[in-house]
Amino acid sequence: MTGRVTGRESRAREFVWATAQYESGDWDSAPLVGLNIVDSVARYTAISVSPTPVVASLSSPGILRYPFLFLTGHLPVRFTAQERANVREYIRRGGFLFVDDHNHDIDGVFHRTATEELRQTCGALADLPNDHELYSTVFRFPDGPPTTSHELNGWGDNLVHKHLQAVLVNGRVGVLYSSKDYSSEWSYHPESKRFLSIDNTRFGVNVIVYALTR
C-alpha cells in the first residue's frame, strides 16, 4: 500500500478536509460540513487549510493522503473487504476517523451497523471521558461534547448523549464516534454563522486541532 505525489499535493502543506466515501449508504448526506468546519478553523487559528474539501474513497489507498477523514450517513454501513483493509491500515498509521451518526438514533441502522463495522475493523469503541483534552484543545467544553439542536428537540432517539466514543491507538484517538448528529448541526453555509449568537462549529475546531496535534 503506497501513494504517489499528485499535482495538488506538491503545492499543498495544509489541512484538507476529506469526506469518506463508502460503497454502502449515503456517504454524501452532509456536504456542507467540511466547508463549514474548514471556515471555522481558518477563522480561529492560523493553521494552513485547504478551502476545498475533498472526497476520499475508502476502497482506495488514496485515503492515506488525508490523515483526517469524516464519515457520516443515515443508511447501513457495510464496508467491503478492501474498505475494511484500508481503514484498518489508515488507523494503524495514525489517521483520524471522525464518524458521525446523521440519524441521531442509537437504534437506527447507521449506529448499529457502523459501530459493528468499526468494532470489527478498528476495535471496540469506548466512552471518551468528558475531561478528555479533546474538549479543551482550543475552546473549553467542561461538560463534554456540546449538545446539538436535534438532541434537544427530541428527534431521533430522544436522548442527549453524554459522551462521544472512541477507539484509542497508542493513547491517541484513532476513531471518534458521535451519536449527536453534528452532520445536521454543522451542515449550513459558513456565511450563515453570523446569525448565530454562539458559533456551534467551535467543537469542530477542537476536533481538527486535536487531530493535528495529538
Binding site: P67, G171, T213
Partner: protein, 418 residues
Amino acid sequence: MRSRADTARAELALRVVALAALAAWGANALRPATVRVATADAASLASQLPGWTGTADPERVHVALDRVPDRPFVDWLAALDAAGVRVTWSGAIAGTAMEAWRAPDPSGDVVVMSSSSDSAIRVVADELGPLDTLPTARAIYATRVRDVAGALSMRSGRQAAAIRIAASAAARRVLVIGAAGWEAKFVIAALEERGWLVDSRLRLSPDHVVSQGSRADPDTARWSALVLLDSASAESARGVERFVREGGGLVLAGDASRAPRAAPLVAWSAARRAVAPLGTAASDTTWRGLSRVPLVASARGAIELEPDKVLARRHYAGRVVALGYDQTWRWRMAGGDESVASHRDWWSRLVAASVKRDSEAIGVAPLAALHAALGAPSPAARVVPGVPARGVVSQWLGAIMLAALLVEWVLRRRRGAR
C-alpha cells in the same frame, strides 16, 4: 687398602673433573639460550602456561598463534615476559575490532561498530546466542542490536572479541516546538511510539499555543533534546543556544536552519524549498514526503549524514542535527508497508544522534591488545631438540664441580695432607 699413590691419582682426577666442569660451565654460559617453542591455541596455552611459570622455567617462550588468546592468557604471557622469560609470538592473525555503546534513546539498542581484515562472516552474539550477522563486503560495518543479555561478542572466523555494555539508561524527554499540523503530530507520535517522553508546544496562532508538559525555557535538566520544526519556531524559542552549549541536543527540521536566531548554531545554509517531481512515491526515501529544504554545508565543520539533506555539527558540549524534510508524515502515512516503522526509527535515530551519550563507547581490539602486551610478532625461534636449558646445564655442572672438589678435599684430609 689403597696406596698413597692411588689416592694421589684419584685426587688429581677429581681436580681435573672440577676444572673440566668449570670450563664447561663457562662454555655453557656463553652458548645461546635454548628456545622452547610452543604451538598454542587457547586450550594448549591454558595447559602449558602453568608449567612455564613453575617448574620448567624456560628462558624464552615462543608461541605460534592462529588467533589471539583470551585476554587472561595474553596478560599471563605479558607477566611472564616481565618476570624475565622472553616471550615472543608469531602467526598470521586477522585484525578484528569491535566498539559498542548504548544508543542514547529509549530503545535500549546497542550500536556495534565492527571491523575485520579478513573476509569471514562476522557474527554478533550475546550470552544467549547470535543476534546478527554482518556482511563481509565492507571492512567496517555498523549495526544495532536489541535486548542484549550479558556480554556482547563478535566472532570473525576463529577470532572472537567480547565486551560488556552498561545497563540501559532511563527514558529521555524531548521538547518539540512547531506549528500545529500533520508534521508535528506524526513526529511526536513517532518519538512517543519509540519510547521518548515528549513535551510539545504547537502554535495555533500567534497568541495561542497548544502545550503539553512544562512551559519553561529549554534546559538540559528537563530535556535531552529540542526539536524545532520550522523557522518560526526556531525564531521564537528562547534559550536554544544556551541549551546546546550546555550539552543539549538540537534538531532543526524543515526551514528552521534559516531562522536568524539559529545562525550561531548552524554550519550550513538553507536553500529554496524543493518539491518532489510528480509521480514520486511517498516511500521514496530521497524525499521522505514530497518536499524538502536543501541544506548546503559551509566550511565550518558540518558533517553530512545524508548529503544536502541531513547535516550535523558540534556546538560546545551539544550537537546540532539539521534535516531539510518538512513533510515526513506523508512518508509514514502513504509510504510502503514498512513506512510507519521506518519513519519512527528514522526520527528516533536523528534525535538520538543529537543527544549526548550517557557513557563512552567500549571497544576491544584483540590483535592490537596482543601487540601492546607482547610487541610485534617475530619469526619462529630456532628449535634445538634434545638440548637441555642453559640454566639446567649450569646447575648440573656446578653440582659436579662442587662434588669433585669436596671428594678431593676429603681424600686429602684422610691421607693427612692439608
